[in-house]
Each structure stands twice: as structure tokens, then as C-alpha cells.
């Protein structure tokens, strides 16, 4: 239902439409600031699964809250950042990661930009070099219409 509403809204307006938020609640915040800041950093990379492109920090959905608490639970239990992330991915699937892994086919995603830059840069480089050496092309002759038009302009 939530997604259907949100989707309908987005369709209707062409705008981004997450629900209003209260996101991180005061009682969730860990007392250890170092742990808390690690939790916040991890939260930025985790998707609220029932929302539209929101991370769990920004979402007020119950599921996002559960995930925030789970992240903090794992950190308090002494997990490293990557262990905590692995733990969550193992339970919620790859879909939960807002920052896609750079494994397998995803390499294509990560290298799409640099590859395109190389290809485009190569084409641009050859083009620019050719522009220097190419001989000037003969100016195109005017068509009869244009000559008439030119004569009119000159008369004015």
C-alpha cells in the first residue's frame, strides 16, 4: 500500500516523493559517539526496503527503524563495519545495499563511466587532431534561391 501510494504520487508529479519523516529517533541514538557515528555511516548505505530510494536514516518506516536498531545491535556486539553489513545482507539480500557491490556484473556498472570516457576521449582526440590537418573544404556554392535572397538583402 505504502509503495503504491508513493508510486502513484511520483507518477502524478514527476517529483520525488518519500513520506514525511522523523527518521532517527532520540531513543535509538547510542551513548557511545564513536559507535553512533559508525552506525550513521553504515545507515547511509542501507536501503529502507519498503521505501522509494530512501536510506534507513532518512526513513520513518518501521522496517527502517528495525534495521537501524539491528545495525546498532551488531556494532554494540562488537562486529566490524563489514561484518555488520554482511550480517544484514545475508538476511535482507543484496537489494538492501544502496551502494552496489563491485563484484561480477556490477563491475560493468562501476566502470561504465571511465570506459565511456576512454572511448569518447579517443574519438574526440582523433577528431580534434584531424581538424588540424584537414584541408579547408571549398565553400559551398549558393543555391539559386539563396542568391536571389542575397540580392534582396543587398538591395535593402
Amino acid at each position: 500500500m505504502m509503495r503504491a501510494t508513493v508510486l502513484a504520487l511520483a507518477l502524478a508529479t514527476g517529483a520525488l516523493m518519500p513520506a514525511p519523516v522523523m527518521a532517527v529517533q532520540p531513543n535509538e541514538v547510542l551513548s557511545d559517539p564513536a559507535l553512533e557515528s559508525r552506525a550513521r555511516a553504515l545507515s547511509k548505505d542501507l536501503r529502507c526496503l519498503v521505501c522509494r530510494n530512501e536510506n534507513i536514516d532518512d526513513s520513518n518506516a518501521d522496517l527502517a527503524r528495525d534495521l537501524r536498531l539491528l545495525v546498532r545491535e551488531r556494532l554494540v556486539a562488537g562486529d566490524s563495519d563489514s561484518a555488520a553489513m554482511d550480517y544484514i545482507v545475508a538476511r535482507y539480500g543484496e537489494y538492501v545495499l544502496l551502494n552496489p557491490t563491485s563484484t561480477g556484473a556490477n563491475l560493468l556498472l562501476w566502470y561504465a563511466g571511465p570506459l565511456m570516457l576512454l572511448v569518447g576521449g579517443g574519438i574526440a582526440f582523433t577528431y580534434v587532431r584531424r581538424r588540424r590537418t584537414l584541408t579547408e573544404t571549398a565553400p559551398a556554392t549558393l543555391s539559386t534561391d539563396e542568391e536571389k535572397r542575397l540580392a534582396e538583402i543587398m538591395r535593402e
Binding site: R3, L7, L9, A10, L11, A12, T13, G14, A15, L16, M17, P18, A19, P20, V21, M22, A23, V24, Q25, P26, N27, V29, K44, D45, R47, R52, N53, N55, D58, G93, E94, Y95, V96, L98, N99, P100, G104, A105, N106, L109, W110, A112, G113, M116, L117, G120, A124, Y127, V128, R129, R131, R132, L134, E136, T137, A140, D145, R149, E152, E156
Partner: protein, 658 residues
């Protein structure tokens, strides 16, 4: 009755658009002046018909005619008038009608102001423009008719989504659409030129104002949307890399590339084929954007299956126009021979680099946006691509772009010497680096992002100012100042837009690096400290608005005992739509915003409160507005007014047969 007339006018507009597509095209091919002239009349008629149709729908919303199902779904008698009117385009069907209205308006403008275009080119442009109209009228009439009536009208409507009842969002879609549809004119010019088989400086001069105007409107539209997200969604984010945002950002990037490469066509008669391709792609991305937003395909393949009719229709439109135009391009591009020569180091090459970076960054956004779909279709992997990816993969291109911009912008055409262009910029560079270092010294233990953004933004901004100063020539300062005021508006526009880009680069980095967040619970009467400001929660009251209930808090902000501001963050509930919204309380300032959100009542009677110190927040949109303003100043340049205002000789009544 008026509704039926509006509906009828829409159907008539479809037929007029068909005539506008076919007759001038044949006329231009056969050189029949009479047939070519049909295009102008048809474009005017099409505009009048669509305008009437749009007025009819607006009327239905204004008088709350609940026999129209669209009005029922998106309006309510208690809604303020502004939002009754904006409700017309705050939904799928109405926004398509708005799209068509603008399409007809731009087609009409080509007909009305294009008297100095070669008649065959004008006829062909109008024909292509007409064909886009046919596609969208058919789309509306077959899948998304805004004029459908209900057999049994209800007593009241279901209300426009409360999030949309906001001035920022009321005007966000019209500006975006002006941009999207403006790019359709560049597209029509490109296809017409391909049919015609020639592109020259005059063509460049004609296309550039359209591309520029479209880009300016897109800039305003995107900035409005981003500003709205900032104050409405309750945590002060300004950009989320959401598919629907990316949908408007991709045409913006390509549009920016297009308006630069069109300068090369106009001034140097080079990059012709590339400019044509960009014009085609820019509109293509507008259509892809429409497809993404309307079909919901990116959110989930399954959402697409819910409403396949519309999605498939837009896909067909996209396939027809892109396929046709690109095919035409493949056959004809070789005919677009470039004339101007230039050295590898020159303004031309700098613009090639600009185009390369903008197009590749657009490509990155595109791949990131469709990747979840590709991964699901090909490898059955359900994954997400979100903000962290885009920040990492997109930003480097913008950094390089900002680094190159001041040098490239000041290089002379044809042949430049890097050292000479660089020497002029040394003061700007020194200033930018010292500012960056100063920023680094003043912050403690935070990321390098802030100082780098500061230095980069300053480099672009001071670079733009340096260029302006250079343009004023040499000699005593007073003489230079006098000459500054007489510079062509195009120079001022360029400096303003580039400066605006610098401002936005800086502001985005500053916001991401230096924002401070505070989350706490507090009782009424309590105070706390936020970055040197003392904040007191004075009261929390329950009141009602015209069509909502609200919980309104009152925060009193002081600094060293001096009153700074009183802000009223709200939590609203719109009963008809059964939706809560947050209204942040913001104290806007030149160098910082103080941003307050009131949360839920806690069990012990205290309130959850979130607040932010947001440095240079306004500069993000200020920079965007400077970019748009720069575009407007350029549009007002003398040479366009001369071109538009010159009385062209009347086209001969009959052209002798060849």
C-alpha cells in the same frame, strides 16, 4: 458542456497536428509554397485548440466539477485556489495536457517568430514538431484522457496529495515541462536539418536560443524541486539521486552540452554532426525521463506490469522518434561537413572536452538509473543503486569539469596557447587555493571535501570574474569599468552562468561537509545549544488550517542574549487524503540556515526534536538561479534580438518550378 468542448478541442487538435505533420513536409519536398505555409496556420490552430482544452480542464478544477473523474481524484472544495489550479497538472493526465500545451506553444512560436528562417526549413521544423504533437495527443486520447466523466458524481473530491500543496511544487512541473518541451524544438530543428541535408551557422544561431531557453527552464524547474525537497521532506536533503530526479537531470546535462556545442556551430561551423546528435539525444532523454516517471518501470518491473498500457505507449513513442531520428542521422550525418579548422589547443577543443565530460556524466547517471532493471532482467539480481554510487561515480567528472572551465572559457577560438590562457588565471588560482587552505585550517578533523569544494567553487567563480575583467581590455581601471558596462550581454551571461556553477559546486560541498545535526528530546521551556545559537522550545500547540490539522511548535533562537529568530515547525495531518506531512521551521540566513523539525510526543511528555545547522544552504539554489539568470542574459543578447526583429523579405508567393 465546457468539458465536452475541451475534449472535442483535443480531438480536433490531433487532426490539425496530423495535417501539420504531412502537408508542410510534402510542400517542402515539392517546393510548393502554399503547402509549406499550411504549417504556420496549423501550428497556430493547434495552439488555440490545446489552449482551449487546457482552459476547460482548469475551469473544471476551479469550479470543482466533481462529475469529472480527474477532478474527483485530485481536488477538494476546501483546497486553496492556488492548489486547485496547480491540481490541473499535479496528476498524470493533466500534466500530459500541460506538456501538449507547451509543445503547441513552442510550435506556434516557430511559426510566429520564424519568418526569417528559410521556408523549407521552417516547414520541416513545423512538420516534425507536429508529429511529436500527434504522438502525445494519441497517447492522451487513447490511454490517459483527462476529460472522462463519472456517471454518479460524488459530493466532494479526494484532495490533491498534501505534499503537492506547496508553492514550490506548484510551479516545479511547469518549468520542467518548459525545459523538456523546449528541447523538442531543438530536436525538430535537428531532424529538419537532416532532411534538408545542410547545417550552417544560421542553423546554429536558430537552435541555440531554443536549447538555451530549454536549459534555463530545466535549471529553474530542477532547482525548485530540490528546494521543495529541502524544506518539505523534513531532513533538509536537497538531492537524492532518485530515478525521477535523474530523469530531469539527464536532459539538463545533455542540454548543457548542446548549448555549448551549438556555439561552435554558430561561430566556427564545426561539430555539426555532433550537435545534431546531441539535439536528438537531449529530447530522447526527455522522453526517457517521461517514460521512467510515467511507467514506474525503474521502481520495479512489477510496477510496470500494473499499468503496461501507458508504459508501452511511451516506449513506442520513444522508439519511433529516437529510432527514426538516429537512422536519419546515420544516413545523413556524413553530409554535415565541417568547415572551420582548429588546433588541438583552442576554444573549440575546450568545448569538445566540456561536451565529453557532460555526456559521459550523463551516461553514468543513465547507467546507474537503469542498472537495477538491467540486473534484474539479465541476471535476476535484485539490487539497488543509490546515492553512494552516484556520489562516487558522478562527482569526479564534475570536479574535472570545474577544473578545466576557467581556462577553457578564456581560450581564443582556432588556436590557443595553454600558458597564455593560464597566466591570466593565476590570480584567480592563487585566491582559490588560499581560500581552500583557509577552509582547511578553520575546520577541525572533518573531511577534505569542504576545503576542496571551497577552492574549486572559488576557482570557477573568480575565473568567470577574471574573464569578464579581461574582456574589458587594458588601460586604466576607470576605462575598463566603463567598457565592462558596454560588453555584449552574451559575455555577461556567460560569466554569470559560469559563476553560478562555481557557487553551486561550493555550496553542495559545504553542505555535505559542514552540516551539523542534533537529535534530542526536550520538554517545553527547555533550551539547548546549536552551533553557538541558544534554542528554546517555547510551546507546542494543536491548531487547524484550511484543510488540515497541525501540531505547531514554537522555537525561540537567540545568540548571546540577542533575538535571532522565532520559527514554527509543524506536523500536519490532511484528513481527506489521510496523510501526515512535516513542515520544517527554517531560519534562512545568508551564510547558514537553522532547520528545525518537531517529532512525536514521547511517553514522558517531552517532544522529539531534530535540528540542523546547514552552512550556505541558500547558495545551492542561488547558484542555480545565477546559472538560469546567465542564460536569460545571454538570450537577451543583441544578436538574437536583431535576428528575431529584422524584417525578413516576404517569401515569394510562388517559387518557380525547378
Amino acid at each position: 458542456m465546457i468539458i465536452e468542448l475541451g475534449h472535442f478541442a483535443l480531438i480536433l487538435a490531433l487532426f490539425v497536428a496530423i495535417i501539420q505533420t504531412v502537408v508542410p513536409l510534402v510542400g517542402a519536398h515539392k517546393r510548393w509554397a502554399g503547402w509549406m505555409a499550411v504549417g504556420e496556420a496549423a501550428a497556430s490552430a493547434q495552439f488555440v485548440l490545446v489552449a482551449f482544452s487546457f482552459a476547460a480542464l482548469t475551469y473544471a478544477f476551479v469550479v470543482s466539477d466533481f462529475s469529472v473523474s480527474l477532478v474527483v481524484a485530485n481536488s477538494h472544495t476546501l483546497k486553496p485556489m492556488l492548489y486547485k489550479v496547480s491540481g490541473v497538472w499535479g496528476n498524470h493526465e493533466g500534466s500530459l495536457l500541460l506538456w501538449s500545451l507547451m509543445l503547441a506553444l513552442f510550435g506556434g512560436s516557430v511559426a510566429w517568430f520564424g519568418s526569417n528562417l528559410p521556408p523549407t526549413l521552417r516547414a520541416r521544423v513545423l512538420s516534425v514538431q507536429g508529429s511529436i504533437g500527434v504522438a502525445f495527443f494519441l497517447f492522451m486520447l487513447l490511454t490517459s484522457n483527462p476529460f472522462l466523466r463519472l456517471e454518479v458524481p460524488p459530493f466532494d473530491g479526494r484532495d490533491l496529495n498534501p505534499l503537492l500543496q506547496d508553492p514550490g511544487l506548484a510551479f516545479h512541473p511547469p518549468f520542467l515541462y518548459l525545459g523538456y518541451v523546449g528541447l523538442s524544438v531543438a530536436f525538430s530543428f535537428a531532424v529538419a536539418a537532416l532532411i534538408e541535408g545542410r547545417v550552417d551557422a544560421a542553423w546554429g544561431r536558430w537552435v541555440r536560443p531554443w536549447a538555451l531557453a530549454a536549459w534555463v527552464f530545466l535549471t529553474i524547474g530542477i532547482a525548485l524541486g530540490s528546494w521543495w525537497a529541502y524544506y518539505e521532506l523534513g531532513w533538509g536533503g536537497f538531492w537524492f539521486w532518485d530515478p525521477v530526479e535523474n530523469a530531469s537531470f539527464m536532459p539538463w546535462l545533455i542540454g548543457a552540452a548542446l548549448l555549448h556545442s551549438a556555439i561552435v556551430v554558430e561561430k566556427r561551423e564545426s561539430l555539426k554532426a555532433w550537435t545534431i546528435l546531441l539535439a536528438i539525444l537531449a529530447f530522447g532523454f526527455s522522453l526517457i525521463g517521461t517514460f521512467i516517471v510515467r511507467s514506474g518501470v525503474i521502481t520495479s518491473v512489477h510496477a510496470f506490469a500494473n499499468d503496461p498500457e501507458r508504459g508501452v505507449f511511451i516506449l513506442m513513442i520513444l522508439g519511433f522518434f529516437m529510432g527514426g531520428a538516429l537512422l536519419l542521422f546515420a544516413f545523413r550525418a556524413s553530409a554535415m561537413e565541417a568547415k572551420g579548422l582548429f588546433a588541438p589547443v583552442s576554444r573549440e577543443s575546450a568545448i569538445v572536452a566540456n561536451n565529453l565530460l557532460l555526456s559521459v556524466s550523463c551516461f553514468v547517471v543513465f547507467v546507474g538509473t537503469i542498472w537495477p532493471l538491467v540486473a534484474e532482467l539479465l541476471w535476476d539480481r535484485k539490487l539497488s543503486v543509490g546515492e553512494p554510487f552516484f556520489n562516487a561515480a558522478f562527482t569526479p567528472f564534475m570536479v574535472v569539469l570545474a577544473l578545466l572551465l576557467p581556462i577553457g572559457a578564456i581560450m581564443p577560438w582556432k588556436r590557443a596557447v595553454v600558458g597564455r590562457s593560464f597566466k591570466v588565471m593565476i590570480p584567480a588560482l592563487v585566491l582559490a587555493v588560499s581560500l581552500g587552505l583557509l577552509g582547511y585550517a578553520m575546520q577541525t578533523g572533518r573531511t577534505a571535501l569542504g576545503p576542496i569544494g571551497l577552492g574549486l567553487g572559488a576557482w570557477v567563480l573568480f575565473g568567470a570574474l577574471t574573464e569578464l575583467w579581461q574582456r574589458a581590455g587594458r588601460g586604466p581601471v576607470l576605462g575598463r569599468l566603463a567598457r565592462l558596462t558596454r560588453l555584449p550581454r552574451a559575455d555577461w551571461g556567460k560569466a554569470t552562468a559560469h559563476g553560478g556553477f562555481g557557487v553551486t559546486v561550493f555550496a553542495v560541498a559545504a553542505m555535505m561537509a559542514w552540516q551539523v545535526e542534533d537529535i534530542r528530546t526536550m520538554n517545553i521551556g527547555e533550551s539547548y545549544d546549536l552551533e553557538g545559537y541558544s534554542v528554546k522550545l517555547a510551546s507546542v500547540d494543536e491548531t487547524t488550517g484550511p484543510n488540515y490539522f497541525t501540531t505547531m511548535a514554537r522555537f525561540e533562537v537567540t545568540k548571546n542574549g540577542r533575538d535571532i529568530a522565532t520559527v514554527f515547525p509543524e506536523k500536519r495531518v490532511y484528513p481527506v487524503a489521510a496523510m501526515p506531512t512535516t513542515e520544517a521551521g527554517i531560519d534562512y540566513g545568508f551564510t547558514r540556515d537553522l532547520y528545525f523539525v518537531i517529532g512525536d510526543l514521547q511517553q514522558n511528555g517531552s517532544w522529539a526534536v531534530r535540528s540542523y545547522f546547514k552552512p550556505f544552504a541558500n547558495w545551492i539554489w542561488g547558484g542555480a538561479m545565477l546559472m538560469a539568470l546567465g542564460g536569460f542574459i545571454s538570450l537577451a543578447d543583441r544578436r538574437y534580438r536583431v535576428a528575431a526583429g529584422s524584417r525578413a523579405p516576404k517569401t515569394p508567393a510562388a517559387v518557380p518550378a525547378e
